[in-house]
Amino acid sequence: MKLYYFAWVREKVGVKEEVLTPPEGVRDLAGLIAWLKERSPAHAEALADPRMVRVAINQNYVAGNPPVGPEDEIAFFPPVTGGAP
């Protein structure tokens, strides 16, 4: 599973991307987040407030608790702020 982090989520996690193999029991987004938060205090802090973090699976925004699999590309990031003032 490929994981990406952007903006302050990236800064808090401490890496831009990582390839991980979650245990078999991790089958959905909530399970993945719970597992990541146990991996390190950095992950735990970055993902502490789910209201501040957006998620994309295979480059599509997702909401709720969709399934995740070993081939997925999963990204965590704050609400987007591009464009102009």
């Binding site: 990406y4 952007f6 903006a7 302050w8 990236r10 994309a56 480059q59 925004y61 990204a75 990031f77 704050p78 609400p79 987007v80 702020t81 591009g82 464009g83 102009a84 003032p85």
Partner: protein
């Protein structure tokens, strides 16, 4: 057409290209976003734009396609820069061309409103107190939502 790039762009050349060879166009509306030297009463020395390569391009293409589905456009363009920018620098250009000005104005506004809330870009501002990530504005969500309701 959409582009994500580090380099600056030439607004006149881009708009001329957009209209070239299509004398059915009656008007082109464009919006250029620029880096301000202040935000929330604090001086901004520079700004760095981060994005999600791959997903960003896909998001911009989706937003452009949605505009072309909603309005009768002859041409459209989104260029967004990434990397480090200084006050006065151009950040983004959106432009739409149509037979009539109504469609050009509406769709151009739509592009920038949706881009701001749907395309994965993040801004970090450099201030005297250090860098800070720009927070999403409720006004931007409201501006984007307006089109969701109207277009439904």
């Amino acid at each position: 057409m959409i582009r994500v790039q580090q380099e600056d762009f030439d607004v006149g050349a881009e708009l001329a290209k957009l209209a070239a060879g299509n004398p059915g166009i009656g008007g082109i509306t464009s919006f250029v976003g620029t880096v301000r030297n202040h935000a929330e009463n604090q001086e901004i020395q520079a700004m760095t734009l981060e994005h999600y390569p791959g997903m960003t391009e896909k998001a911009l293409e989706d937003i452009e396609a949605e505009a072309r589905r909603r309005w009768p456009l002859e041409a459209s363009l989104i260029i967004h820069r990434v990397g480090r920018l200084e006050p006065g620098d151009r950040i983004v250009l959106v432009a739409t061309a149509s037979k009539h000005r109504e469609a050009a104005f509406e769709s151009c506004r739509f592009l920038i409103d949706w881009l701001k809330t749907k395309a994965p870009f993040w801004k970090q501002e450099e201030t005297v107190e250090g860098p800070r990530w720009v927070a999403a504005r409720a006004e931007d969500d409201a501006a984007a939502d307006r089109w969701t309701k109207e277009g439904a």
